[in-house]
């Protein structure tokens, strides 16, 4: 409520600017003006994306595990959110979004450690840089949190913290720089509007690597417990859906028709994928389930993410259908064919979805599919090539680096897994000393 001197100043500023502009064609100048509408939306989007993790994703995952591990899953998500935020401030943001000078194609620099040099007047486009920083921070929070789904119900809490922090610096920051920070993939014109590569592919692939090293839950595959609370799963999924408006819509970094279209196609893809998943279950098992329906929602959201700034409503319908069909199939493949206990299907839903969308966008951004158009000078073919390169690079980097980080973490924690007794008794009481439901 404190009065700011600049409060009064601001309007004058705008007007002076306006006047000057009347006589100067320097549009760059105009571009450097703060736009309060854009700022209002991106601040809101920041809150929405934080809401995706806290409590959206946390509840989505917590409902899928058995009741003796609920709190451990919530703990993973909240603690990751806290730790990643600090790591992002200290170094993550700087590595991702500043100029890396000689190494700039690969990684950013150190000029923004602790957000050095960013005040209330530092702008990034038409919004304050501190808002851009915070918006990006919420992405850095949710990405490692997505991986929680892979290792629930058996991992040491210390391993979760160490692995997530290392991963943010070594996997997330570089890939973010490549794609959004002016790195080599950005130079190639790769299309990743809101994180098909940066968020979903990195998390999905890394999850598989972690699971391979960690091993399956006791009883997998035939005797693991079913979701303890599908209603909690649905609640979390709904919050993820709503928050995703900020995730994709906010990635336009403005409150305009581009944000509106991103929001529109995001919603349509989510709705379509949900219905497709529902219909598959209905046909295949005779009953459509709530868990299935909302899993389709997440699959649709992950798949549209990289494409959300490039495709139109019709493209969104196509992406929704593809997401439902492919992700449903992949869930089976991972668990049945590959026999990997990616417990909550991070790879099949996020990894596959994000990758699928990364490829599809090259086609569906074309006007003939109602898309918003290919990058200047690109053809569908050339775009496909660039997207494929981006995808492969992301996969390879994520896999190799995560493999190393898992080894390091295992070393530091004396093994990633809790004792078998503790796994059987449940992580809530053995790792955190708490009981989830005391309904007497």
């Amino acid at each position: 409520m404190f009065k700011f001197y600049h409060r009064l100043a601001a309007p004058v500023f705008v007007l002076v600017a306006a006047i000057l502009t009347l006589f100067s064609p320097d549009t760059a100048f105009a571009a450097d003006q703060l736009n309060s509408g854009d700022t209002a939306w991106i601040i809101t989007a920041t809150a929405l994306v934080l809401f995706m993790t806290l409590p959206g994703l946390a509840l989505f995952y917590a409902g899928l595990v058995r009741s003796r591990n609920v709190l451990s899953v919530l703990m993973h998500c909240v603690a990751i959110a806290c730790l990643m935020s600090v790591v992002w401030l200290v170094i993550g943001y700087s590595l991702s979004f500043t100029d890396g000078a000689g190494a700039n194609k690969l990684i950013g620099g150190f000029s923004r450690l602790f957000l050095a040099g960013v005040g209330t007047d530092t702008l990034s486009g038409t919004i304050p840089e501190n808002v851009f920083f915070s918006f990006q921070m919420t992405f850095a929070v949710i990405t490692p949190a997505l991986m929680v789904g892979a290792y629930v119900e058996r991992i040491k809490f210390s391993a979760v913290l160490i692995l997530s922090a290392l991963w943010l610096i070594c996997v997330y920051a570089p890939v973010t720089h490549w794609v959004w920070g002016g790195g080599w993939l950005a130079d190639m014109g790769v299309m990743d509007f809101a994180g098909g590569l940066v968020v979903h592919a990195t998390a999905g692939i890394s999850s598989l690597v972690i699971v391979k090293a960690l091993g399956a839950r006791h009883g997998f595959p035939n005797d693991v417990a079913p979701p303890h609370n599908p209603g909690m799963v649905a609640m979390g999924a709904c919050m993820l859906w709503v928050g995703w408006f900020g995730f994709n819509g906010g990635s336009a970094l403005a409150a305009d028709g581009a944000a509106g279209m991103a929001l529109t196609v995001t919603h349509i893809a989510a709705a379509t994928a949900s219905l497709v998943w529902m219909l598959i279950e209905w046909k295949k098992y005779g009953k459509p389930s709530l868990v299935g329906l909302v899993t389709g929602t997440i699959a649709g959201l992950a798949t549209i993410t990289p494409a959300s700034g490039f495709v139109g409503p019709v493209g969104a319908l196509i992406i929704g259908v593809a997401a439902g069909l492919v992700c449903f199939k992949m869930v089976q493949v991972v668990k049945t064919a590959w026999k990997l206990d990616d417990s909550l299907d991070v790879f099949a839903v996020h990894g596959v979805g994000g990758s699928l969308g990364t490829i599809l966008v090259a086609v569906l951004c074309a006007p003939m599919f109602g898309g918003l158009g290919l990058p200047e000078g690109a053809t569908i073919g050339s775009a496909l090539g660039v997207q494929a390169i981006g995808l492969v690079a992301t996969i390879v980097w994520s896999a190799i680096v995560t493999f190393i980080l898992v080894k390091v973490t295992a070393g530091l924690t004396g093994g990633l897994r809790v004792r078998e007794d503790d796994e059987l008794e449940g992580l809530d009481i053995t790792s955190h000393g708490e009981t989830a439901y005391r309904l007497d």
Partner: protein, 112 residues
């Protein structure tokens, strides 16, 4: 006195309660239990993975009755809980040595 313990399907509880009321049973104690038996568990499918749920929800009813009423009570339960489908449950009877009503200290049959 006898102690009658029955395990039935949850949605049959109301029917059984009414049937027992008709036989003049004044009280009973009910609890939620999980049953394992011929009925085998149900398989629930989540994300295409089949989960073998070994234990099915059942309701346990406990009734202390005077010796002479036991047979009638067992029969009432049997008739009212019967759906003819596997998993309907069981009725067990064993001997009850004594009963006390906490509020009044009344003993045995008077306590029921």
């Amino acid at each position: 006195m006898k102690f009658v313990m029955a395990v039935i399907k949850p949605h049959k509880l109301d029917a059984v309660r009414e049937a027992l009321g008709a036989t003049g049973v004044e009280g009973m104690t009910v609890s939620e239990v999980k049953g394992y038996g011929r009925q085998r568990g149900q398989t629930e499918i989540y994300r295409g993975a089949e989960y073998q749920v070994h234990f099915l929800p059942k309701v346990k009813i406990e009734i202390a009755v005077a010796d002479d009423k036991a047979a009638e009570v067992v029969e009432a339960i049997q008739n009212s809980a019967n759906t003819g489908k596997i998993g309907d449950g069981k009725v067990f009877v064993y001997d009850l040595e004594s009963a006390v009503r906490i509020r009044t200290g009344e003993q045995n049959n008077d306590a029921l």
